[in-house]
């Protein structure tokens, strides 16, 4: 067997084993190994059979390279699984935006005194903090959703499939708006709607993120 055909056989074996890898990486790896062989032979200025055998032996069997590739690939895919934009982070950012935007808008339109009043109102009024608590509860529920799904398959007496937690939160806000409309009138409902709008948006984002990650 000539040196050239030894190389071809080696690369063909690498190619067939690399079929298990992502296509882009399989090509890249093949290029890297081909270039390695060329460089190694170039440095010796020869492509005779003994030189080629030596280079290929030092490279190691293609199966070993592919196995190493698979070993290297496994951990990053596991660590890449938790998304950076976790629901909890979105919730915290959302709350910060609510408080800051309220302060800024109220200060600009009605002075700092009014801004403090508005903040106090937001803290005191149940129309704001109830949806917030519900939103956070929904986030907490979402966290153990993974374990809740297989548990639903178990023969439990009161186990039911939960609807999406953020949808529950959205429904709760709509319900609060209806209650506000019925008990306090349209103007009050408008105020509550304005105040809960960021929470509404937050829950929508959470819902969309949840659907994407599923």
């Amino acid at each position: 067997m000539s040196g050239r055909s030894l190389i071809d056989a080696y690369l063909a074996e690498l190619d067939s084993q690399a079929a298990q890898l992502p296509a882009g990486r399989a090509h890249e790896l093949a290029d890297e190994v081909r270039e390695h062989i060329d460089t190694a032979l170039g440095a010796r200025g020869t492509a005779d059979e003994a030189a080629v055998r030596n280079v290929l032996e030092r490279l190691g069997p293609p199966a070993e390279i592919i196995a190493a590739e698979q070993d290297e690939e496994a951990p990053p895919t596991q660590t890449a699984a938790p998304p950076r934009l976790t629901p909890a982070r979105v919730a915290i950012a959302g709350l910060a935006v609510i408080v800051l935007s309220m302060l800024v808008v109220m200060t600009a339109t009605a002075g700092p005194g009014a801004a403090v009043m508005a903040l106090a109102f937001a803290v005191v009024t149940p129309y704001v903090w109830i949806p917030l608590v519900l939103a956070l509860l929904a986030l907490a529920l979402r966290r153990d959703r993974g374990s809740a799904v297989p548990a639903a398959d178990r023969a439990g007496p009161v186990r039911r499939r939960r609807p999406s937690p953020s949808l529950v939160g959205l429904a709760a806000i709509v319900m609060l708006l209806v209650v506000a409309l019925l008990t306090q009138g349209a103007l009050y409902m408008g105020v509550v709607a304005a105040l809960t709008l960021p929470v509404l948006a937050l829950l929508l984002v959470v819902e969309v993120l949840g659907r994407r990650s599923r």
Partner: protein
């Protein structure tokens, strides 16, 4: 452990894969199959431990040169600190074992 040897080499200066392998081989006993360095380099690229630049070479196709990133540097720094303690511990234990065997 091999990855930190790679990071240590590319910390010194920009290196291309074949040269890197030659240096690892010259250090001795670090590698069995040279080909497995390519999967390792791919992971270091993915993890942002190294960056690469393609440069023309005097002979043959362009080469991919590897350079350490700040993330790679801090990973190497952490390893270097741990390694000194680990090496001393192994030295102490293995050294004791050898002396014990000699008695």
């Amino acid at each position: 452990m091999l990855e930190y040897c790679v990071l240590a080499i590319v910390q010194g200066d920009e290196t291309y894969a074949f040269d890197l392998i030659r240096r690892l081989s010259d250090a001795g006993g670090l590698m069995t199959s040279e080909g497995t360095i390519y999967p390792l380099l791919a992971r270091l690229r993915r993890d942002g431990m190294v960056t690469t630049t393609w440069r023309e070479s005097a002979a043959g196709p362009p080469r991919r040169y590897y350079r350490i990133t700040p993330a790679g540097r801090s990973a190497l720094g952490a390893f270097t600190a741990d390694w000194a303690g680990f090496r001393d511990a192994v030295d102490a234990l293995v050294g004791t074992a050898e002396e014990g065997g000699g008695l």
